[in-house]
Structure formats: structure tokens, C-alpha cells
């Protein structure tokens, strides 16, 4: 499988105008299969851009449960990203396919509660393809600048961030 | 059944004449004039007219009422009755009511499932099936008892019909089912429309071998084709219908304005072939919303005038 990005991507138009709804510090939770990257793959990016990234490593992406994804949003994430191995390369045969189906299920749940399923995405990333992974996070950040903070993040929380900036 | 003649249709068949029946769908409304108009088109060219019972589960005027209108117009109805919408209490009560109105022929059906109709949201009944309905009618007539075993003072005496589909699956079971209907008490059988004469002949042969053609009169179904599109639709979409490629090709092979002509020709050829098959005692022409066509077909097939039975 060639390096690069495939998966349940989000169809935003990416303009360079940062049409931010609110000025906020984005928070992303990343669930990733430990067979792809080491945890510190995003150090550089974190230094470059001001955002919070929580990385959750899983022995296999199939261990990501519906409720983990939802709880990530409950604890204040604006977006949740799941990185899984390319199809056909899962160590546990079909873990990544299970993860994909589950992500789709939870995306529907998010849509149903009006949280926008676009905030959750899944990508297939080849082993140690750091570049692709970083690109995914960058794209997610850019998407978030359009989407704004998660509506389930309490208003106070976002305001606090804004105040600090002032 | 004792030997007295129950209805005109019964009389025609008992005499050994080749019977012709046709169909009349009650209106989606309460206007009896629709029935009168259709009656006019069918009068004197058929022995009896089937009155459908909320066919394809679309809500229409009841078959009992429409049958009564037909009677008033001087035609003999074959009242169809499906078990989809009524439980055994309502069925028996309606049979007695229908008889009291002068209705003498009945065709027992299970009925199309309501998912196809105008009320897919309805609760269905299916308390008994068509074979059990046949048995019920037979016991009422011959033993004078209703389903509960109660002796009826004046039991309804109906000429009992059933439907058969020689083309549905599982093929090998179709004869068993036919024989079950006849054992249960069916006096006559009207079949699904025949386009595949070969397959029908095969089915009739088995029926004959099983002695079934001695026990019941079989009327073969006929539906004239209007267009190639109709032929294809029936082949692909209508459950339990067998329209062979050769028929579709023939319809396809003529220009659109000659399609009706070709359809009629196929229809007449089929009737001629059916008359040669041992055990076929009549035809049942289902020209849906095309009642004016029936007289033409019956005439062209040389089946006029219809015998006079009184």
C-alpha cells in the first residue's frame, strides 16, 4: 500500500482565509494504532501551532469503542481523529475495518445530536508514515477553524481561552 | 355436493360446455354506476364475472356490494374473498350475507400482502388461509354447519372456486397444493394467466394423472397484452408470472401501433391451444380495466353465443 492518506475524510473546502467563528485553542484527541507511529510524532507540530493534542495509543485500532470516541468529545475535544493501518495490513486481520465501521456509526450519532459527524474522522496511515499523519492533523486544525469549537464544550471554557489571549 | 345446479357457471360446466369468465374490479369510490357500465360491456359474452376483493390490497368498494350490483345488472358474479382482511367470524358472516343477496359463486383467496397496496400501514388478519376458507364453505354447504359446528338453518350453498398458479415456485409442490384445494372442496379452479403454454400443459398433465381434472373444473387464465412494456413488466415485476422471452420478442417485434393487435393474436392462439388441453374446461379472461376487450376476444375465439342456462 502506498504511503498517503485514505479513509473517511471530510469534505470541507479548504480556503486560506481563516474564517474563524470564535477565536479558540483547538483540542484534538487522536486514537492511533500503536503499530503506526510513536507517540511523539507530533512534537514539532505542537511547537509550531498552539493547540492541544491528546494521543491515545491502542494495541489495535479495533479497541476503540463507541463510548471512547464520545467521551473524548465529552472531555472537551473539538475533533477526534482515528488512525488505523491500511486495509489488508492489520495485524489482527480486520481490526481496522471494525474501527472504520464503528467510526461511521459514531459519526451518525454525532450528526443525530447535532454535534456534526465531521468532527470525527478516520484515516488509514502506513507504518511510520509520519508525514501523512502530521498532514492529517494539520488538515483537521484547518477544518476546525471553519467548524469552530465543539458546541458541547461549555461556553465558559471557550471564553476563558479567549480571555487569556486578550 | 348434491347434484342440483347452484349457479349459471356451475350449470355451464356441469353440462360440459367450455366456460368463459371474466373480471370486474370495483371502483375506488362509492359509485355503483361504474359497475353498471362494466356490466354493459361484459353482458352476454361471459358466463360469470369475478369481482375482486380489494385487489392488490388497494381499498375499493367491497366485493359483496359490487357483486350485488352486478346481479342487479343481470350478470352472474363470482365473488372473490380474501382472508387477509377478515377473521373467521367476519368471513362466515359475509358468506351468509352474500348468499342472502343472491351471490352463488365464490373464489377463495389468501390475498396479496398489504405491503403492496394503498394501506401498507394496516394490520393484516390471515386468521385462516384460502384452503381453510374453501373447507369452511364446503362444510357450510354440504354439512350445513359453520366452523364452530353450529347447525345453520339455511346454510349458504355456493359454487366454490380457488386459484392456482402453475408457474409459482416451488414448482414440484404446485400440484400438491392444487390437490389440497380440490380435496378441501374446490369445485372449480381459475389459474394465473397463461403465457407459457408448454409449462401449463405439463402442469395439466400431472393434474390429470393425479385425477384432479375429474374432480374440479379448471379454467385457464388469460390476459391480453397491450404492449411490449406490459409483457416485460409482468415478466419482471409480477410475482408468480411466467412470460416467456418468445412472447416478449413477438410484442417487441411489432410497431407500437400494432401492439394491441399482436397481443390479441397471442391471446387467441393461446385460447386455441388451451382448448386442446385435456381437463381445461374454460377460460378466465382478466382484462384489467379493459373490459371492452373481452367481447372481442370471446367472439374472435368462436365462443359466442354463450349457452343459455336457467
Amino acid at each position: 500500500m502506498a504511503k498517503g492518506i485514505t479513509g473517511i475524510a471530510n469534505p470541507y473546502t479548504k480556503g486560506n482565509c481563516r474564517n474563524m467563528k470564535t477565536n479558540f485553542k483547538p483540542r484534538i484527541t487522536l486514537f492511533q494504532c500503536c503499530n503506526i507511529l510513536s507517540k511523539d510524532a507530533f512534537c514539532k507540530l505542537e511547537k509550531k501551532i498552539d493547540f492541544d493534542l491528546d494521543v491515545v495509543e491502542l494495541p489495535c485500532s479495533s479497541l476503540v469503542k463507541d463510548v471512547f470516541l464520545l467521551r473524548a468529545f465529552e472531555s472537551g475535544s473539538d475533533a477526534v481523529v482515528v488512525l488505523v493501518c491500511p486495509e489488508g495490513t492489520c495485524r489482527y486481520v480486520e481490526g481496522n475495518i471494525r474501527a472504520k465501521k464503528r467510526v461511521q456509526w459514531v459519526k451518525n450519532l454525532l450528526d443525530e445530536i447535532g454535534l456534526d459527524g465531521k468532527r470525527l474522522s478516520l484515516f488509514n496511515v502506513a507504518h511510520s508514515d509520519k508525514e501523512a499523519a502530521v498532514k492529517i492533523i494539520e488538515n483537521t486544525l484547518s477544518d476546525l477553524s471553519d467548524l469552530g469549537p465543539s458546541p458541547a464544550r461549555s461556553v465558559r471554557e471557550t471564553e476563558a481561552v479567549e480571555e487569556k489571549k486578550v | 355436493m348434491n347434484n342440483s345446479i347452484i349457479s349459471k357457471l356451475h350449470g355451464v360446466l356441469a353440462r360440459g360446455d367450455f366456460a368463459v369468465t371474466s373480471e370486474c374490479g370495483p371502483p375506488r369510490g362509492a359509485d355503483p354506476d361504474v359497475i353498471s357500465r362494466k356490466s354493459g360491456l361484459l353482458k352476454n359474452c361471459v358466463d360469470a364475472v369475478n369481482v375482486t376483493d380489494n385487489q392488490t390490497a388497494i381499498v375499493r368498494m367491497s366485493s359483496i356490494a359490487a357483486s350485488a350490483h352486478l346481479l342487479q345488472n343481470g350478470l352472474e358474479p363470482v365473488m372473490q374473498m380474501v382472508t387477509r382482511d377478515r377473521n373467521r367470524i367476519a368471513l362466515q358472516s359475509d358468506i351468509m350475507g352474500a348468499y342472502s343477496l343472491g351471490i352463488r359463486n365464490i373464489l377463495c383467496l389468501t390475498g396479496d400482502h398489504q405491503t403492496f397496496g394503498s394501506q401498507p400501514d394496516a394490520l393484516n388478519v390471515f386468521d385462516i388461509d384460502s384452503i381453510q376458507l374453501i373447507r369452511t364453505l364446503c362444510e357450510m354447504r354440504d354439512k350445513g354447519r359453520d366452523m364452530s359446528g353450529f347447525d345453520l338453518k339455511s346454510p349458504p350453498r355456493m359454487f366454490i372456486g380457488a386459484a392456482a398458479n402453475p408457474f409459482a415456485d416451488p414448482f414440484e409442490f404446485r400440484i400438491i397444493r392444487l390437490s389440497k384445494k380440490i380435496e378441501a372442496g374446490a369445485d372449480f379452479i381459475q389459474t394465473q394467466c397463461v403465457y407459457n403454454v408448454e409449462r401449463f400443459r405439463e402442469w395439466m398433465k400431472t393434474a390429470h394423472e393425479e385425477g384432479l381434472t375429474e374432480k374440479a373444473h379448471i379454467l385457464a387464465g388469460i390476459t391480453p397484452l397491450k404492449s411490449a412494456g406490459m409483457a416485460r413488466y409482468m415478466a419482471d415485476r409480477v410475482a408468480g408470472m411466467d412470460v416467456p422471452e418468445t412472447i416478449i420478442k413477438r410484442m417487441d417485434g411489432v410497431p407500437k401501433n400494432r401492439a394491441i393487435e399482436e397481443g390479441t393474436r397471442i391471446c387467441l392462439e393461446t385460447i386455441a391451444a388451451l382448448r386442446e388441453i385435456k381437463g381445461v374446461h374454460g377460460i378466465h379472461i382478466m382484462a384489467i380495466e379493459w373490459e371492452e376487450k373481452v367481447a372481442e376476444i370471446v367472439g374472435a375465439a368462436g365462443l359466442l353465443p354463450r349457452p343459455d342456462i336457467n
Binding site: V67, L70, E74, L110, E112 | H113, A168, D169, P170, G240
Partner: protein, 222 residues
């Protein structure tokens, strides 16, 4: 097992809207197996509801609990404290479980979070099929253990109807024709003759048509 399906989040949100302290009560038997009302589903639903309410700026306090079975006192008692300390219960059990809880806790509103659908089996991973309607007078022996009442769309006892095509039911090509299955199976068992005899109309008194049913086992009543 009893198969059920979770109601839409929109419907659940509406049902629970009047309550501040809500217990979402799962059932660890049938509905757990069909991914509708077990521990995992309780957790997921609770989280989704919290998110949904938070997004709307409303508050709800959800307690999560799953007991082994909601249709037996032995297990129901384990939930008593939680039930009594909340404003309402959203039960993810089948309709029987919901009512069992409601009967036992007279002052607490108990609401269903599932649509209970049928008695069925796990045909294969992710696929559940209806097999029985609990008619109270089982005739499977006669029909090669394929139930014509639950699985034939017209409940035919002297089937099949004229709509059976290529093994599919006339109602929907994705549904097997029960009568094709009955015939195939009896043929394989050499019992096709079973079907030649007329089958009497069913006595529906044993079914729900005879009113709600009760089963009394004297030997277990002390």
C-alpha cells in the same frame, strides 16, 4: 432471545427531557447480545445524551447501571437504590423488562429506550432474524422446524401462496419464503408427505389473541 433496537436519539431526548436525574438501566441478557441494551450501549447512549444536552445548554445528570436481567426480582433488587434515587429510569431492556421495573417502582417514571422487535436468533454476526411469535401451541414438528406463523408473511398453514419466487417471499425479495424452506427441509428429511394433509385452522386461544397469558407453575409456588 428477545431482539430489540435502540430508539433514535431524538426520540430518547424527547422522552427524557423533563428529568434532571436520570438512570439509564441496561439489561445484560438478550438485548445485550443484540447490541441494544447492554453495558456498552448504556455507556454510549449516556455519553451521547450528555453531549447532546450540553450542546443545547441543558443539564442532565445520568447514572449508568446494567443488571443481569430486568425481568427477575433477584436482579431488579440490585438496582433498587439507583432507581429510587433518580427522577426517572430509561430502561434499555425489552418491553417486559421495562414493565417489570415499572410495576415494582410505583412512583418512578420508567420509559423504554428500545423498540422491542421480535423473538429471534443471531443468524450471523450482525444479523438477527425473527423465528417465533410465541403462539402458545408449537407446531414446528409438523413443518420441519420452520415456523409458518412467524416466518410466512401470511401465516399460511397450507402454503405456499402464489407469490413465492426463487425461494423469496412475495413481500420482499430479501426475505426467504418460509414455505420454500419448509418444503426443502421436509424433502430432505423424506417427510414431504406431512404437507399433503389438510391443516386445520389454528386455535388462536393459546396465543395473545386469547388475551394476556399467564403461566402458573404450581410446583414452584410456595
Amino acid at each position: 432471545m428477545i431482539v430489540g433496537n435502540q430508539k433514535s436519539l431524538a426520540e430518547i431526548k424527547e422522552i427524557v427531557a423533563p428529568y434532571k436525574n436520570l438512570l439509564i438501566l441496561g439489561c445484560g441478557t438478550c438485548v445485550k447480545t443484540c447490541f441494544a441494551g447492554g453495558e456498552d450501549e448504556v455507556a454510549t447512549l449516556s455519553s451521547a445524551l450528555r453531549l447532546g444536552f450540553k450542546k443545547d445548554g441543558k443539564e442532565i445528570l445520568i447514572q449508568e447501571l446494567t443488571i443481569e436481567r430486568q425481568c427477575e426480582d433477584e436482579f431488579i433488587q440490585e438496582a433498587a437504590e439507583n432507581i429510587n434515587s433518580n427522577d426517572a429510569v430509561l430502561s434499555l431492556a425489552c418491553g417486559a423488562g421495562v414493565q417489570a421495573i415499572a410495576k415494582r417502582f410505583k412512583s418512578v417514571p420508567v420509559m423504554p429506550g428500545l423498540n422491542t422487535t421480535f423473538i429471534g436468533i443471531l443468524e450471523k454476526q450482525g444479523l438477527f432474524t425473527e423465528e417465533c411469535v410465541g403462539c402458545g401451541d408449537c407446531r414446528l414438528a409438523q413443518f420441519g422446524s420452520v415456523c409458518p406463523i412467524a416466518r410466512c408473511s401470511k401465516k399460511l398453514l397450507n402454503g405456499p401462496c402464489g407469490g413465492s419466487k426463487n425461494g423469496s417471499c412475495e413481500v420482499d425479495a430479501e426475505t426467504d419464503c418460509a414455505w420454500q424452506l419448509i418444503i426443502d427441509r421436509l424433502k430432505a428429511l423424506g417427510q414431504l408427505n406431512n404437507l399433503k394433509a389438510y391443516v386445520q385452522p389454528k386455535d388462536w386461544r393459546s396465543s395473545n389473541a386469547g388475551g394476556p397469558r399467564k403461566l402458573v407453575r404450581e410446583d414452584h409456588i410456595i
